[in-house]
C-alpha cells in the first residue's frame, strides 16, 4: 500500500481583492506525512499567505483566484466552514512568530490549552487535565500545575513559544505549520525551541511546514525546500540540492547574501586606543512605587573596552547581556554610574563638542531613526549643521556627495523617509552618520531589521566606507554571522559582564566559554561551492 500524500498545493494564486495585485502566483508543492518541509523567502515573497491559504485563514482582503489545496485527499478550498473547523487544530496546527501576541492575554494558560481538547475530542475533564500537565512538562515548563492558572504575561518569550507548541501538539495534528516560529527569540533560545519542535513532531509523526527567511536555519531541519520570491515559487528540491547546486538566479543571490568570514586585517593595537571605556557601571533605577523605593537594577558591572584606530570591534550577546547599554553609554545616551570614557586619550567630558563631532551612531530601526517630517537631504544636512569651518554651500555639496556615496542619487534628495524602502532608509542613516567624517562610529544592530539580500548590500556598503574613511567602529549585534563578516575583534557579553574577548578568528574557531560555544552553535560556517552554492557546516555539534 502506497502511503497517501499528506498535502498537495497546486497552482495556488492569491490576490489583494481591492487592488487586484497578485501576491501569490501559481504556487505548487507537496508534503509527505512526517516530513519537515521548508519554505524560504524574504518579506513580500508571499510565503506566509500561501500557507495561510492551506487552512483558509486568509486576511479578509486576500482572495483565492485559482488552484487547489488537497489535504489527505480532501479539497480544502471547497470545504464548508464547519468542515474547515474540524480540520483546524485537530489535523493542522499553526504556530506563529510573535510569542508575545499569539496567546490570549486575558485567559489562563490552562483554559487556552483545554479549549482545543474540549472541541476536538470527547475526553473527560480529568483526562484532559492529565494530558495538559504531561504536555507542559514535556515542553519544559517548570511548574505545570502553577502554569494552568497563570496568564501569558507571566512567562518569557521563549516559554510562551513552548506553551504555543504544547497547545498545538496536544491534539497531535498531522501537519504543523510553523511561521517564523523562532525569529523573535534570542539565538540560543531559538535553537532550543527548534529542537523541541523537531523532537515533539517526530514523536507524534507530525509533518512540519517550516516557513522562514533564515535559509541556514531551515536547511538545518528540513529534507526539502522551496524558495519563493515576489509571490512565485522559483526553485524547489532537496535541501542539499538547493544549497549546493542552486539553479535559479534568486536562489544564488540568496545564498551569496549569507555572511561569510571577512579577511584578517592588521590593526595597530600598540598605539593608544581611539576610544577607551574603563570600568563602566550602569544602574537603571528600579520602578518606584509608593511602598518601596525602587531598587536599582545593575545593567553593567564594571566593563572595560578599548577600540583602536581603524578597528571594528563587535559586541555580541543575547538580550539582557548589556551590549546595547554599553553602546549607548559610550554614545552618551545613557549616563554611567561610575567609570571613565576616554576619547583619544582624554576624558570625553573635557570636550563634549569635539566628542559629538567625532562620534556618530547608526541605529537598528530605520523606521524610527529618521525624522518622518524631513527630506532625505535635510536629514543629512542636519548632521553638518554644527560642523565648523565649512560654509552653507559646501555643506549642501557634502550632503549630496555623501548620499551619492551610500548609493542614493540626487533623485532621492527631496523624498521623505516613508517613500523609501528599509534598506534605503538605513543607507540614509549611514549617510547621516558619516557625513561629518567621524573618527568613531557606533552601530547598534544596524542590519538586523533588514531582509537577507538587502542586509548583504548594506553590510558591503558599510565595509567599503569603513575602509575608505578608516573610522573605528563598535558594532553591536546578536547575529554572529554578520559579526564574522565585519569584525576584527569580538567581545562576548552576558548578564552585564564581558565573558570572553579576542580577535575574530580565535573567538569563532576556538571559543573557550560554554556560552560562546552555544551562541556559535546556532550559526553555520559556510564554504562556497564551485556550483554557486554553499556547504553548511554546523559548529561544535555536541
Amino acid at each position: 500500500m502506497t502511503q497517501e500524500r499528506l498535502l498537495s498545493v497546486r497552482d495556488l494564486s492569491l490576490v489583494v481583492a481591492q487592488r487586484g495585485v497578485e501576491v501569490v502566483k501559481k504556487v505548487s508543492f507537496d508534503i509527505e506525512p512526517g516530513e519537515i518541509f521548508g519554505i524560504v523567502g524574504e518579506s513580500g515573497s508571499g510565503k506566509s499567505l500561501a500557507t495561510r491559504a492551506i487552512i483558509s485563514l486568509l486576511p479578509a482582503a486576500i482572495k483565492v483566484t485559482g488552484g487547489q489545496v488537497t489535504f489527505k485527499g480532501r479539497d480544502v478550498l471547497s470545504m464548508s466552514e464547519a468542515g474547515l473547523r474540524e480540520l483546524r487544530g485537530a489535523e493542522i496546527g499553526l504556530v506563529f512568530q510573535e510569542p508575545m501576541t499569539s496567546l490570549n492575554p486575558s485567559m489562563t494558560i490552562g483554559r487556552q490549552l483545554e479549549e482545543g481538547l474540549t472541541l476536538h475530542t470527547n475526553m473527560p475533564a480529568p483526562t484532559r487535565r492529565e494530558r495538559i500537565l504531561a504536555m507542559l512538562q514535556r515542553v519544559g515548563i517548570r511548574d505545570p500545575e502553577g502554569a494552568l492558572s497563570a496568564y501569558p504575561h507571566e512567562f518569557s518569550g521563549g516559554m510562551r513559544q513552548r506553551i504555543m507548541l504544547a497547545s498545538v501538539m496536544l491534539l497531535k495534528p498531522a501537519l504543523l505549520i510553523a511561521d517564523e516560529p523562532t525569529t523573535a527569540l534570542d539565538a540560543v533560545i531559538q535553537r532550543d525551541v527548534m529542537e523541541l519542535m523537531v523532537e515533539l513532531t517526530k514523536a507524534e509523526g507530525t509533518a512540519v511546514l517550516l516557513i522562514s527567511h533564515d535559509l541556514p536555519m531551515v536547511a538545518r531541519y528540513t529534507s526539502r525546500i522551496v524558495v519563493m520570491e515576489k509571490g512565485s515559487l522559483v526553485e524547489q528540491g532537496t535541501t542539499e540540492q538547493i544549497l549546493e547546486k542552486p539553479q535559479h538566479p534568486y536562489t544564488r543571490k540568496l545564498l551569496s547574501s549569507l555572511p561569510i568570514r571577512g579577511e584578517v586585517r592588521t590593526i595597530d593595537t600598540v598605539s593608544a586606543p581611539m576610544v577607551s571605556a574603563r570600568n563602566i557601571v550602569v544602574d537603571y533605577p528600579g520602578r518606584k512605587s509608593l511602598f518601596k523605593k525602587g531598587t536599582p537594577k545593575r545593567a553593567l558591572h564594571g566593563v572595560s573596552v578599548d577600540i583602536h584606530a581603524g578597528e571594528v570591534v563587535a559586541l555580541v550577546g543575547g538580550s539582557g547581556s548589556g551590549k546595547t547599554t554599553l553602546g549607548r553609554t559610550i554614545a552618551g545616551l545613557v549616563n554611567q554610574s561610575s567609570g571613565d570614557i576616554l576619547f583619544q586619550g582624554r576624558e570625553r567630558s573635557a570636550d563634549w563638542r569635539n566628542y559629538r563631532l567625532n562620534c556618530q551612531m547608526v541605529f537598528q530601526d530605520p523606521y524610527s531613526s529618521l525624522d518622518p517630517r524631513m527630506t532625505i537631504l535635510s536629514l543629512v544636512e542636519e548632521a553638518l549643521r554644527l560642523v565648523p569651518d565649512i560654509d552653507r554651500a559646501a555643506k549642501k555639496k557634502r550632503a549630496y556627495e555623501t548620499l551619492e556615496e551610500v548609493g542614493l542619487g540626487t533623485e532621492y534628495a527631496l523624498r521623505y523617509p516613508h517613500e523609501l524602502s528599509g534598506g534605503q532608509r538605513q543607507r540614509v542613516a549611514i549617510a547621516r552618520a558619516i557625513a561629518r567624517r567621524p573618527k568613531f562610529l557606533i552601530a547598534d544592530e544596524p542590519v538586523s531589521a533588514l531582509d537577507v539580500t538587502v542586509r548583504a548590500q548594506v553590510l558591503a556598503l558599510f565595509s567599503d566606507l569603513q575602509k575608505r574613511y578608516g573610522f573605528s567602529c563598535l558594532f553591536i549585534s546578536h547575529d554572529l554571522g554578520v559579526v564574522e563578516q565585519v569584525a576584527d575583534r569580538v567581545i562576548v557579553m552576558q548578564d552585564g559582564r564581558i565573558i570572553e574577548q579576542g580577535d575574530r578568528n580565535t573567538i569563532f574557531d576556538k571559543p573557550k566559554e560554554p556560552y560562546t560555544r552555544r551562541l556559535l552553535s546556532a550559526i553555520p560556517a559556510l564554504d562556497l561551492t564551485e556550483t554557486g552554492g554553499v556547504k553548511l557546516k554546523w559548529r561544535l555539534e555536541a
Partner: protein
C-alpha cells in the same frame, strides 16, 4: 478606506458651508436679525421668511446666519486658546519630566477630574456669562486635554531613535524640541483641535441654552432654542432649525475628524 475619504469629503463640505455662512453673516442677512415685528410673530416658514419668524417676529434665517458667526468665532478662539496653552504645557511637561512633570500632571489630572462642562460652569461663575466669559471658561477647561495629548506625544517621540540621533549630532534640547518634536506633534494636535472645535460649539450652545452663555437678544443657536422652547408646540420651526444647524455642524466636524485621524494617526498607517 474609500468610505472614509467619502465621509471626510461630506464633512469638509459641511464645514465649508458653515464657514461660508459665518462669513456671509458679516456682510449680509436677509433681514435685520434684531428687528422686531409684532405683525409677523411666530410666522410659519414661507417665501418671505424661509425659516419662519420667532416670538418677536424676528427672521429666523437671519438669526441663524448670525448665530453661525457666533459659533465659529467662539469655537475658533476657544480652540486657539486651548491649543496654544495646552501645547506649551504639554511640551514643557513631557520634556522636563521629573518633578516639574509630576506637578504639572497632578494639576492637569485634577482639572480633568471635572467632568463635561462642569469646570466651564464653575469658571463661568467667575468670568461672567457672556461671549468672552465662555471663551475663557471653555478654553481653560479644554487646556488639560490638549496638554495631556501633547505630553503623551512628546513622551512617545522621545523614545524614538531620531530624537536620540539628534542628541548624538550634538543638537541642543531646545533645537531638538523645535526641529524634531514639535513638528511631529502637529498631527495629534490637529486631530484633537478638530474635535475640540466641535466640543466648543456644542458647549457654547448648551451653555447659551441654559441661559449662561451669550445673553439675548444677540442670537446664538443655543439661546434661540432656549427662547423658542415655550413656543415649540405652535411653532415647530423654532425648535427645529437651530438644533439642526448644531447637529449638521457637529456631524461635519465628526466626519472630518475621523478622516483626519485615519490620515494622520500613525497606527492606522500601513493598514490598508
Amino acid at each position: 478606506m474609500k468610505n472614509y475619504t467619502f465621509n471626510g469629503l461630506i464633512g469638509a463640505v459641511l464645514i465649508t458651508v458653515l464657514l461660508a455662512v459665518a462669513i456671509l453673516g458679516l456682510f449680509w442677512t436677509p433681514y435685520d436679525p434684531m428687528k422686531l415685528s409684532f405683525t409677523a410673530r411666530l410666522a410659519a416658514p414661507s417665501a418671505e421668511h424661509w425659516l419662519g419668524t420667532d416670538e418677536f417676529g424676528r427672521d429666523v434665517l437671519s438669526r441663524i446666519i448670525v448665530g453661525a458667526r457666533a459659533s465659529v468665532w467662539i469655537g475658533a478662539l476657544t480652540v486657539s486658546l486651548a491649543a496654544i496653552a495646552g501645547t506649551l504645557i504639554g511640551l514643557i511637561s513631557g520634556y522636563a519630566r521629573g518633578w516639574v512633570d509630576a506637578v504639572i500632571m497632578a494639576i492637569n489630572n485634577a482639572l480633568l477630574a471635572f467632568p463635561g462642562i462642569l469646570l466651564a460652569l464653575g469658571l463661568l461663575a467667575v468670568f461672567g456669562a457672556n461671549q468672552y466669559g465662555i471663551i475663557f471658561a471653555l478654553g481653560i477647561a479644554y487646556t488639560p486635554s490638549m496638554a495631556r495629548v501633547v505630553r503623551g506625544a512628546v513622551l512617545s517621540l522621545r523614545e524614538r531613535e531620531f530624537i536620540e540621533a539628534s542628541k548624538i549630532m550634538g543638537n541642543s534640547e531646545v533645537f531638538t524640541m523645535l526641529r524634531h518634536i514639535l513638528p511631529n506633534c502637529l498631527a495629534p494636535i490637529t486631530v484633537l483641535s478638530t474635535s475640540m472645535f466641535g466640543w466648543a460649539i456644542l458647549s457654547e450652545s448648551a451653555l447659551s441654552f441654559l441661559g449662561l452663555g451669550v445673553p439675548p437678544p444677540a442670537p446664538t443657536w443655543g439661546n434661540m432654542l432656549a427662547a423658542g422652547r415655550p413656543f415649540i408646540e405652535q411653532a415647530v420651526w423654532l425648535g427645529l432649525f437651530p438644533g439642526l444647524c448644531i447637529a449638521l455642524t457637529l456631524l461635519g466636524i465628526n466626519l472630518l475628524g475621523d478622516a483626519l485621524r485615519d490620515k494622520l494617526d500613525p497606527r492606522m498607517r500601513g493598514l490598508k
